[in-house]
């Protein structure tokens, strides 16, 4: 006895959330694939990006300026974080990167609390229209967010596939030593990849900002979700993590038909555990030979 209209609304919701999550997760998976760094602070980069977005938005009044400003600022911060905190850890156990980025996450989260206070802030959406989707007025802005996220991910894909520096990045992923031998500046590739990951997190933060309030604790939820997605999609696999983002978000959206949103998150955790037990290499990647 599934109401058809509810189902459609939740599927649209799931797709939109999935695209935002994909934007966060693809940055995380890029960083993991290249540097073996499990970035525990990724959600906090997302959160800080959203906050920087609010600052730029309140000074300029322009949403697009906020998006660009936040992306640039977070790329810079990402580069600084990578060179200062993570570069010394290259070659050590990947678990030490969890510890270091966990420390960074504590710093960023409490910095945001100190700087912006506990009251959530809002960015006003640039497109305010709605359209009728069964029983709800669905905002066009959310559709725009999904499209923009897809465009950014598509841009990243094209860059990685055809751009000269994208090929450098892929070469470094495959074989760090060989890439260095061919004259690719591997340490700089690492820095740039972390900066790209951070700026993608910032972009999704600013895009997500108008749909909910921006607060200092929103990062952890996204860190956790992005982890789930990256593992379900196959660690370090870009296409897999995008598909997994959509899959997980759809599961959660559909679960909210029956349970509260707070409980719906358990569904994605269960999906993760099942994946880890049945197919630890990831659901959306070809079977490794």
């Amino acid at each position: 006895m599934l109401p058809f209209d509810q189902l459609v609304v939740q599927i649209v919701n799931g797709l939109v959330n999935g695209m935002i999550l994909a934007l966060v997760a693809s940055g995380l998976t890029l960083i993991f694939g290249i540097m073996d760094i499990v970035n525990f602070a990724h959600g906090d980069l997302f959160m800080l990006g959203a906050y920087i977005g609010t600052t730029v938005f309140f000074t300029t009044g322009n949403f697009w300026a906020a998006l660009v400003g936040s992306v640039l600022a977070m790329a810079l911060l990402g580069a600084v974080l990578q060179t200062t905190a993570l570069r010394p850890l290259i070659g050590r156990d990947p678990l030490t990167t969890i510890l270091a980025t966990f420390g960074i996450s504590l710093i960023l989260q409490n910095y945001a609390l100190w700087q912006y206070g506990p009251v959530p802030r809002r960015i006003v959406e640039p497109v305010s229209g709605h359209f009728q989707l069964f029983y709800v007025d669905y905002p066009w802005y959310r559709i725009l967010v999904a499209v923009l996220s897809a465009a950014i991910i598509g841009g990243l894909y094209l860059f990685m596939k055809f751009g000269k520096h994208g090929i450098w990045i892929r070469a470094t992923t495959q074989d760090r030593v060989m890439a260095a031998a061919m004259g690719i500046p591997v340490p700089w590739v690492h820095t740039v990849v972390f900066a790209i990951g951070a700026s993608m997190a910032a972009a999704s933060g600013v895009l997500f900002g108008p749909t909910v309030g921006v607060n200092h604790a929103m990062g952890f939820d996204f860190t956790l979700k992005a982890f789930v997605v990256v593992v379900v999609g196959g660690m370090g696999n870009l296409g897999g993590s995008i598909l997994a983002s959509i899959f997980i978000s759809l599961l959660e959206s559909l679960a909210t038909i029956w349970v509260s949103p707070a409980q719906a998150i358990i569904v994605s955790f269960v999906a993760l555990i099942v994946t880890l037990l049945v197919r630890p290499t990831g659901l959306f990647v070809p079977t490794p030979k």
């Binding site: 499990v38 905190a85 010394p88 850890l89 050590r92 990947p94 678990l95 030490t96 969890i98 510890l99 270091a100 966990f102 420390g103 960074i104 996450s105 504590l106 710093i107 989260q109 409490n110 910095y111 609390l113 100190w114 952890f220 956790l224 982890f227 789930v228 593992v231 660690m235 509260s260 707070a262 409980q263 998150i265 358990i266 955790f269 993760l272 555990i273 880890l276 037990l277 630890p280």
Partner: protein, 347 residues
């Protein structure tokens, strides 16, 4: 264990030093007695605030010590210790709130030993969670193990946070402190000093037990899993079984820490199941020195002291300097505060 004849002095000096290092040195036990005596006297000389502070260090130290069994000795970083701690806490709370009143056990013992009922309930709750987590998570390694333990602890957090009817949801549960009882012998109310001594006794006993475990053949297998898992398997050890037991042991002692926290603070709240507690546990262990058992307690003391000092300067933003110091320690002092004494402490 030390039935092997010591090899000739000249050829194998390294092995020889290990053979003589089998027995704990007199200096170690002297240090042990001094520290325990200092902790026992602490409540008599310290003002009430610092007295509570020392008790809390012991409780968090026990939690970190239990995590060290996994992180330091078996090489599995658990980001889910809050689940064991929290279930110990809620288990004890449940026993104190809803255990059958006088009359049920009274007919047998003459009293209702609420204290022991709370301990038993907390340990059983933590053990059940540990079985669950151990069964699934030990199939995974490294980062995957860490993420799966984190996810399990979040599952328990969501359940406790949303199951308001039983757990009190966000408000948690408050209850009365049970008296200290030895059935048939005595029953006295805990004084401030009393609870400290009780906690101290439990923590010291746990430390000696865990120390014994890490030095037993079982503990040696755990350390060999940390050093080289495929090789341990090749020698013929059933690695998965050892890991499952390690997680359960660790979970049980983490649950015990939860019970002690319940007894000291007389409330249970979902915040204690939140992953932040797991994160702090890992911080204690890494800061103090993995693989030393005492190190994590020192780490807990160091962290709580930093928290105390910095929260007077930076108020609620104390985690900014603490996070900074932690990150710097991970980069520059990965062996932790007591890491330099690792060999001496494990004798």
């Amino acid at each position: 264990m030390s039935t092997v004849a010591p090899p000739p002095m000249t050829s194998m000096r390294a092995l020889d030093s290990r053979a003589t290092a089998e027995r704990p040195s007199r200096a170690y036990w002297a240090g042990f007695v001094v520290v325990v005596a200092a902790l026992a006297v602490a409540p008599l000389v310290l003002p009430p605030f610092w007295q509570r502070f020392v008790t809390e260090i012991l409780i968090w130290g026990l939690l970190a010590m239990s995590a060290d069994i996994l992180i330091g000795y078996t090489g599995m970083v658990s980001f889910g210790h809050s689940a064991f701690f929290g279930l110990g806490l809620y288990g004890a709370a449940a026993a104190l709130l809803w255990a059958p009143g006088p009359g049920w056990l009274a007919s047998v013992w003459g009293v209702t030993p609420k204290l022991w009922a709370a301990m038993a309930a907390g340990l059983v709750a933590a053990a059940l969670v540990a079985v669950f987590v151990a069964f699934f998570s030990t199939r995974l390694r490294d980062i995957y193990f860490a993420i799966s333990t984190l996810v399990f602890s979040q599952i328990f957090y969501v359940i406790i946070f949303t199951w308001t009817d039983v757990t009190g949801g966000e408000n948690g549960l408050t209850f009365r402190q049970p008296p200290f009882e030895i059935p048939g012998l005595l029953a006295v109310r805990f004084s401030g000093d009393g609870i400290h001594w009780f906690v101290l006794a439990v923590v010291v006993t746990s430390y000696l037990l865990l120390r014994r475990v890490t030095q037993s053949p079982f503990g040696m297998v755990l350390q060999s899993i940390r050093e080289n898992e495929p090789r341990t398997r090749a020698i013929g050890y059933h690695v998965e079984r050892y890991k499952i037991v390690a997680v359960m042991l660790s979970g049980l002692f983490a649950g015990l820490a939860g019970v002690l926290y319940a007894l000291q603070n007389k409330f249970a709240a979902p915040d204690f199941v939140l992953f932040l507690i797991s994160g702090e546990t890992v911080i204690f262990t890494v800061m103090g020195g993995m693989g030393t058992l005492v190190g994590p307690v020192a780490g807990a003391a160091f962290f709580l002291l930093m928290k105390e000092v910095f929260s007077r300067i930076f108020y609620e933003y104390y985690l900014i300097p603490v996070g900074l110091i932690f990150t710097l320690m991970v980069i520059f002092v990965p062996q932790g505060l007591l890491g330099f004494a690792r060999r001496a402490l494990n004798r």
